[in-house]
């Protein structure tokens, strides 16, 4: 059984076992040197990662059914050093690695360096406790293996870019004689605190998709097409959403200002403040985590496991 921490009823256990048998068959694990027991162990690890201990069996079945079993087995077989698995992986993904890197970096030598670096991590050139560790061991089959590779490469590229930017900035500061330059801050302009509070109230109440669209468009300055592609909708849909959101936000902020004791006219005049102040306020509310440093402390500390 994949999970050690619960004992399902016999009927459910049989159904689960049948599902896992079918998944193992589809994954062709046997051809790649992965035993059924090892396969069950991998599934159990994935279940523990994404589900709570008291998850319903229906949820477990749904999770297992959604996994890319064949790609999962391929990745884990590669991580275990199976030669045939590596042959398949290289045939399918080696060129794609360079293509993806080329698209990300837009420059051939940097792309090659990035792809080679990722490939080394996938192959497992680092060791832990005497055992080779491969980044492929962290692939869990939630999405396609190719999609996971893209995300891993983007993460690595972004981390490198940010590290380099910090180094370049330090060099520039040293040359200019301001080794410990104070970060530039926007000029402080007095804004009615009720406007800021009203804005906060309205933005907090937005559903996640709306906040995502606003943050991507106004903070990250992504194009409508980029946002649409991320969300899997048409560009015109995002265009209409941004328009609708902006109008709705204004009405809601006006209403919130009214609840704070402002008359309609006062509220409208208050919203005519310098837009830079509202932008600062909205930015601080929408962007609670800056993207200036490494991707996350968690990732900087443990980059080898792909998480």
């Amino acid at each position: 059984m994949p999970r050690q921490d619960f004992q399902p009823e016999p009927g459910i256990a049989a159904r689960l076992d049948a599902l896992m048998t079918e998944l193992y068959r589809k994954s062709k694990g046997e051809e790649l040197g992965l035993t059924r027991q090892q396969f069950d162990s991998v599934l159990g690890e994935i279940a523990r990662k994404y589900l709570t201990a008291d998850a319903a069996h229906h949820d477990v079945c749904e999770l297992y059914t959604s996994l890319r079993a064949e790609e999962l087995v391929l990745a884990r077989a590669c991580a275990a050093g199976h030669e045939r698995a590596w042959e398949i992986f290289l045939t399918r993904y080696r060129e794609k690695l360079y293509d993806i890197a080329g698209y990300i970096t837009k420059e051939s030598s940097t792309a090659r360096e990035l792809a080679d670096s990722i490939y080394a991590e996938l192959y497992g050139t680092t060791t832990r406790d005497g055992q080779r560790t491969s980044k492929l061991a962290s692939y869990t089959g939630r999405g396609s293996l190719e999609g996971w590779l893209r995300t891993v490469m983007v993460q690595e590229h972004v981390n490198r870019y940010r590290r380099q930017r910090r180094l370049v900035s330090l060099d520039e500061e040293t040359e200019e004689g301001s080794q410990f330059a104070i970060p530039a801050t926007e000029a402080a302009i007095a804004v009615d605190p009720r406007v800021e509070a009203a804005t906060d109230e309205v933005l907090i109440a937005l559903p996640p998709e709306d906040r995502y669209v606003l943050a991507s468009y106004f903070l990250d300055e992504r194009t409508l097409a980029e946002i649409a592609r991320t969300l899997g909708v048409h560009e015109s849909t995002i265009s209409r959403k941004v328009d609708k959101l902006a109008k709705s936000l204004r009405k809601q902020i006006l209403a919130a200002l009214g609840r704070r004791g402002m008359s309609r006219r006062q509220a409208q005049e208050a919203l005519e403040v310098d837009v830079r102040d509202l932008r600062v306020n909205i930015r601080s509310r929408l962007a609670q985590e800056k993207g200036g440093g490494a991707f996350s402390k968690k990732k900087a500390e443990a980059p080898a496991d792909g998480s």
Partner: protein
């Protein structure tokens, strides 16, 4: 259980882009993305790569009654009739007018010098144009704001005013123009036409037979005309960049300038991408004085030191002669 209070790992982010997650998980990841600029950057870079596997169709979200084939084709036929009538009337009208002599459709390596309007009236003209022209870029909208707000990214509240120069004044227009343009290009050729949209807003369209005209002003700014050269609008491509070379072929625009600055738009200037040519590990850094593109893929850039850089894949890779 891995919560998205921590940053989602590559598995979750990749699956999010591919829409492979269960609805609840998709929602949780989206909630994290709405607060985390770092993860948004990762997701955006991943999602916008070519060939990304996505289970979600990019068809417009509103299917509604248009999902009925009969009504859909009926609407299409009605569009054809309307557009055809307008085009015919317009052609009859235009046949009495003098043919414009200036054309920028052919790619030309040399700078084209135009005569922009005077500085005093330019801003007012630009503001009016921005309100009427839904395809001005975000940077152009910022540049068109009144003095004192030039470095501000517009806030949602400001955009709700939908005033002149507002970015969101451009958004519905851009969407509607895109929708209407699709209908126009699908159905009938012709000159500039007007089609009434579902929101009862009449939006001027650009005909597929008369793409915008482009030129570079004497101070190196890119300008576009949508009315056969009668009026010109400055298109903000990049800050503090002087352009000296231009190549335009329908929707494909390339501009090159000082210090190797090279920008490309494939949608008539709505969006721009900076292209950094590199060959054999060497980046193009000299002033660009000539840009020629025979088609979408094949192009040539000439620099001030008489170097010629060639691409055969729309700027993805370059060779230096």
């Amino acid at each position: 259980m891995a919560t998205v209070e921590d940053h989602p790992d590559a598995n979750l982010l990749g699956a999010f882009v591919e829409k492979s997650l269960a609805q609840v998980e998709q929602f949780r990841v989206l909630e994290h993305l709405s607060r985390c600029a770092s993860c948004r950057e990762i997701v955006s870079l991943t999602a916008t790569q070519p060939g990304i596997a996505s289970a979600v169709s990019v068809a417009p979200a509103r299917a509604g009654w248009l999902s009925w084939p009969v009504l859909r084709w009926g609407a299409a036929v009605a569009c054809v009739v309307v557009v055809g009538t307008v085009v015919t009337l317009r052609q009859q009208h235009e046949s009495l007018q003098i043919e414009p002599t200036i054309s920028v459709q052919k790619p030309e390596p040399e700078k084209q010098i135009s005569a922009p309007s005077s500085p005093q009236s330019k801003n007012a003209e630009d503001m009016t144009t921005a309100a009427a022209n839904p395809t001005v870029t975000r940077q152009t909208a910022r540049a068109m704001k009144p003095a004192g707000n030039n470095n501000a990214a517009a806030s949602p509240v400001e955009m709700a005013d939908a005033g002149v120069g507002s970015r969101l004044a451009e958004v519905p227009g851009r969407a509607k123009a895109a929708e209407s343009q699709d209908a126009l290009s699908m159905k009938a050729p012709g000159n500039t036409a007007q089609v009434e949209t579902s929101g009862a807003v009449v939006v001027p369209l650009v005909s597929t037979n008369l793409p915008p005209r482009w030129t570079l002003s004497s101070d190196g700014t890119l300008q576009r005309s949508r009315d056969s050269g009668r009026s010109w609008q400055t298109i903000q491509v990049a800050d503090n960049t002087i352009f000296r070379a231009l190549a335009a072929n329908r929707l494909e625009i390339w501009v090159g300038g000082a210090s190797g600055a090279l920008f490309h738009s494939s949608d008539a200037g709505q969006h721009w991408t900076q292209v950094r040519p590199v060959a054999n590990g060497e980046a193009l850094a000299d002033d660009i004085i000539g840009v020629e593109f025979a088609d979408t893929l094949h192009g040539k850039v000439t620099t001030s030191v008489q170097e010629i850089w060639i691409t055969a894949d729309a700027g993805q890779t370059w060779q230096k002669q």
